[in-house]
Every structure is written in structure tokens, then in C-alpha cells.
Symmetry: none
Subunit: 201 residues, 4 copies
Amino acid sequence: MPKIEISDIRRRELIAATIATIYEQGFADATVARIARRAGLSTGIVHHYFRDKDHLLEATMRSLASGLGMEIAARLASAERPRERLEAVIDGNFSATQFTREAVTAWTCFWSQVPFSERLSRIQRVIYSRLRSNLLHALRQMMPAQQAEDTAFGLITIIDGLWLRAALDGEGLDPVRARALAYGFVDTRLPAGSKSNEAAA
Amino acid sequence: MPKIEISDIRRRELIAATIATIYEQGFADATVARIARRAGLSTGIVHHYFRDKDHLLEATMRSLASGLGMEIAARLASAERPRERLEAVIDGNFSATQFTREAVTAWTCFWSQVPFSERLSRIQRVIYSRLRSNLLHALRQMMPAQQAEDTAFGLITIIDGLWLRAALDGEGLDPVRARALAYGFVDTRLPAGSKSNEAAA
Amino acid sequence: MPKIEISDIRRRELIAATIATIYEQGFADATVARIARRAGLSTGIVHHYFRDKDHLLEATMRSLASGLGMEIAARLASAERPRERLEAVIDGNFSATQFTREAVTAWTCFWSQVPFSERLSRIQRVIYSRLRSNLLHALRQMMPAQQAEDTAFGLITIIDGLWLRAALDGEGLDPVRARALAYGFVDTRLPAGSKSNEAAA
Amino acid sequence: MPKIEISDIRRRELIAATIATIYEQGFADATVARIARRAGLSTGIVHHYFRDKDHLLEATMRSLASGLGMEIAARLASAERPRERLEAVIDGNFSATQFTREAVTAWTCFWSQVPFSERLSRIQRVIYSRLRSNLLHALRQMMPAQQAEDTAFGLITIIDGLWLRAALDGEGLDPVRARALAYGFVDTRLPAGSKSNEAAA
DNA sequence: AATGAATGAGAATTCATTCAT
DNA sequence: AATGAATGAATTCTCATTCAT
């Protein structure tokens, strides 16, 4: 049984405070002081747990990515057929715990930093690769390689586009509608036999 | 013949410098001083032409939006059939002058600010409405209303997703591939007779 | 007949605009640009008529002083007896044209600058000397020299104090009350035969 | 024993530095940087203890007012008869610790700001009310109400006028002469029995 | 582990002044 | 005589980071 370190607790609290602060004040106004205050800690301690602000932001993005990854992994674990694996990826991306207003807002902020930060860029690449690999693994069993490649690319684009929409539309985006678009896209690419509505029928 | 005001020239130069600086240094490091220097001007003059930095950024986003809008409008002007109108919108979004690395980078930055700025949010809403209205106008002549609605939403999501992809992928995104995804999405939603490959045939 | 130079007109306009701007925006916010705008002129022209801002301010203080001086001089011209000369000085200081909200506000600002500006300090000294000399001239004919000296000092202090009060009290100071205090002070210092109420009787 | 907070110490130091800097450089040149340097601190810390420059200035004016108030209060504590209360107020205003060149200079600066700052205006009103109330309390026991009112007004005007004189006259003002004027004014208003020279006799 | 005082660099903004037109 | 574009220094304020306690 792994001991729960107090340092891990603090780190988690600070990451959560970072996400909350970005959501409430915006990326530019998410200062170390404000994040620390939100976590109920002092300014100084932040640098005890994270080397500097960049490392805290990096850890935050990584944490968001890992939350998403675990959500998907959990669903993949109980997926057997290719179609189910696809659904695991899509549903994971729009699950109630991940597809939140806080998360989409934070993601949009991190995306805007990616082109200027090698660290964030690396995280972004890892997420993309993992997502693509998951999708290809399923799609290749359902269609020719090139078509699978294109479908994976399209699906990732749609997922990202939906997250962006959710951040841009003040009122938030209906996860049902989001999933519907993603499923709809996949369905038109699949051979007749593996469509979801037929599976449901 | 409208006189070319020097103030219009300066404003344009400053907006261009803003986009370039954001692209090269990132949103956070796009300081007024750096933008001014890039425009070959002094810091002070920026506030002579734009009340403050927020207004300059707003004008920049507006300028990007208007560039995109004009690109699309120009193509719409010579479009007659619904299918052509669709193509005008898509092609406008991925034209060589608009779908640049500078532009996609700047857009990603502005998107990240939208949730925290009523001004930018308003611009974003106008762009979205215009795009949606253009698409619906064409799509309603090709399919039932609800389906047109969904297709427009999907297409916008894909377009935004592709712009985001272009910003996130270091090497840039092939506009041909981008267009292919968008066209492909539309084609699967259209009745057989109006597909692009058949039109081309 | 002296020709009225346009430069004199401009100078007067700028001085008037300076007083008005100080009154409306405060000394710190009375910028050259705002003063010029209020005078309906451009920023640049201010430096054509006044070497720099300091000179404009100096001219403004001088103009206020000269207005006050002329108001007093006019009354002194028709004063014959010492008592009338005293009244001329007091009434001049609280006349409707000089004892205005604009003027008292501007004076307070200039006073605060006096200790740090040799130029303004010199003007201040001239005003003080002139006032003192006018008062002494009258008072020495009514009382012993030392007593005249003290009375002049007291009266000047009261006059300045009243101007200050007028600036500090938001609602403005009743000139009747102001004059009453000044007259009252003088009366208590005078031998019975020359009091104002008796003179009026 | 109340713990002496370091924040109180710093605040006091900064306020003292503000007064000194205003005295030496003038109100306009009393920049945050200069004040901080004079206090031996960095610019940044000023905003740690005072929200912004306005708050520092407000605290400084308040501190001056409170110094004066305590000086008067201390004398009032040992005053028994009305006449002694009057003396307490006057002497407090011209005591060696309060009637300094630094203080009179700073006051003149603050007075010039009063008409443009609601905050400073409020402080000014409080000071005035307190002074007036102290004086009326004593004067009403020595003369009719209306006359007490006028005398209080006159005395306050003279006190302010003397402070102003002290700031304007380069060489400084003799506190003995200042007190003499104030006492002389009061004496002429009092019934014979309560004059100071007679009391001293 | 934790605090928060303190620093100092750097940001936006203002403004007097100059100068080409 | 007049404009207003342009400059660049100066100012206030913010913030990440450090460090003594």
C-alpha cells in the first residue's frame, strides 16, 4: 500500500487551485499568489513543491491529460470489440468528470501556450499520439489502413473542435450533442455492419 | 477616391506587428514595447492610435476576423449553387492567405482569452453567427432543416478543430488535408447527387 | 491705441483654459493636452506661446495675481481716507470676479508649488509685499507702527485663510461671511473713532 | 503588551518617508520610487503595505491629522477651564512637534488635492469638525452661541492661514508670532475677565 | 513544512516636448 | 500660425522568486 505523502496532497491541491484559478480569473491573471491563496497556502510554499510557475503549469496540464487518459483507459479495459474501443475513447472524452467547463477552459489556455513552450508541446504530442494510437488500434480492424488514418485524424479534430466550442460558447456545450457529432462522424466512415445504431438495434 | 489616412496606415502596421509578435514570441510576451518595436514605432504612439493594449488586441482579432470574412465573401460572390456556396466557405477558411501559421497561432491565443473578455467574446460570437448563417443558407437547400443545423455545427467544429490542429502541430497542417476532411464530412451528409467528386466528374 | 495682438489673445485663452482645467481636473491632471483641448487649440501650439509648461503655469499664476491686483487698484483709486483704503483691499480680495471657486482652487494648487519653484515663489513674494505695503500704508495712519505691522500680518493671514477655507469647503464660502471676519478683525484693532459700523452710521 | 507588528513599523516608516520626500522634492516629485528609497525599501514593498500610491498619501494625511489631534488631546486632558481648553487647541496647533516645516509643506500639498479627492476631502472634513467642536465646546461657555460660532470660524481660519503662511514664507514662521496672532484674535472677542494677559497677571 | 516580507525586473501607460508639414 | 504625429523618459503597479524565520 503506497503511503500517501503530504507532499503529494499539497501538489494535488495546488494543481486543483491552478485549474480553478485559470477558470475563474483567466490564464493571465492566474498568478502564483492567487493560486496559492485559493489552495489556502502561502506564496512561498508553491516554490517548495514546484520549481517555478512553469513547472506548476506543466504539472497542471499533465494532470489534466492524465485524468483524461485514465478515464479512457478505464473504459478501454472493459472494451472488447473494436467498436467498443472507439466508444471508450469518445465517451471518455465527453465524460461528466472530464468534459467540464473548468477543464475545457484550462485546455484552451494551455493550447495557446503550446507553440511557445517545448515542455507543454511535448505533453501535447504525447496526448495526441496516445489518442491516435488508441483510435488506430480499433479502426484498423474495421477499415483499410489509409482510411483508418484519415478517420482517426478526423475524429481527433472533431474532439478537439468540440472542446474548443465548449470553451468558446458561454453557455457550455451539451455533451450529448458533442457525442452525437463524434459518433455520427465515425458511423459514416464505417462499413454498414458496425454502425452504432445498428448495434443498438 | 478615399484619402489614405496616415492613422489608418499606422493602425494597420500595428495590427500586423501584433500578429507577427504573437506568432514569434507568444501571447504573454507580446508586450506593447515589442509590438511597437516590430512596427518600427515607439511605445508611446501605440496609445495614440489604440486607447490601450486591450483595444489593440481587440482590433487585431477583429482584423483577423474581417480578413477571413472578406476571403469568404469574395468567393461567395461568384458562387451560384448551394454546393458552391459551401465550397466558398470551406475554401475561404483554408485559403493560402488566411490559413497561415501566424493566423492560426494568433487565433488560438485569442480563443484562450474569449472566456475572460466580453469584447473578444462578442467578436467570437459574431464570427460564429456569420459562419453558421452562411452555411445554413446553403445547407437548407440541400437537406432538411434539422439535418442542416447539425451539419453546419459539425462543419464549424471541424474547421475550428483544424485551425487548432494547425496551431498545435509544429510542422503545420497541409491545407489540402484540411480541406479534404471538411469536404469529406460534408459529402457524407449530402444526398448522392450533390457530392463534390460527382460534380467534378 | 494699442493693437490687440493675436498672440495676446491666444495667451489669454490658454491661461483661462489652464485655470478652468485645474479647477475641473485638478492640478496633477491639468496636462498640456487637456489645457490645449479646452482652449480649442492643439498641443503643439502651447509651446509656441509659452516656452514650456512651467512658463504657462507661471503666467497663469501671474495672471491671477494681476487680476487681483487690478481689482484692488481700481478700488484704491477712489479711496481717500485710510479706512477706505483698507476696505478697498479687503473688498478687492472678496469681489465677485476674484473670489471665485476657480480662483481659490487654482491658488491652493499654486501655493502647494511655491516651496519648490523659485519662479512661483517670487510671484508669491511680490503679491505678499504688495498686499502688505497697501495695508501698512493705510494702517500706519491709524495706529502705531508695530501695531500696524501686526495688524497687516493678521489681516493677510485671515485673507489667505479665507481663500483656503473657500477651496476646502465643498459648498463654497459666503463672501459676506468672509468679509465680515476680515472687517471684524480690523475693527477690533482700530481706535474707536474709525470703526466701520461707526463710519456707516 | 501589544505586539509591535513589523507591518506597522514599515507603514510608519513609509509614511515618514512620504512626508520627508514631499518636503524635499515637492508633491509632484514625491514618486513611489523616491519615497521607497528614502525609507530604505524597494518600490514593490510599498504596494504590499498600501494598496497604491493614493492609499499611501491618504494614510500620510491621516497620520498628520492624527498627530495633530493627539497633540491637542494631550493638552485638553489637563485643561480644566474653558480658557485652558482654548489654549490647548491653539498651543497644540503650534507645538514644536506639529508646526514643523515638513508638516506645513505637506499640509499645503494635501489641501491642494482635497477638492479632487473624495478620500482626502473626507479627512479634511473630519479634522475641521473636530477642531470646530473642540473650540465651540470652550467658547460657548464664554460667549453667546452665535458669537462663539463666529469666533471658532475665525480662529480656525487664522490657524489655517498661519500654517499656509509658514509654508509660503521661505524662512519659516515664528511659532511665537503665530500663537500671538491667534491669542490676540481670541482675546478681542472675549469679555474682559477671561483674557490671557490678565490671567497671566 | 510553512510563512510572508522583501526584492527588482518588467509591464502598461502617460505626458511634456519636438518637429515635419 | 497651427496641427497632430511621434518620441522616449518617467511613473505606477504587478509578479515570480527568494529567503530569513
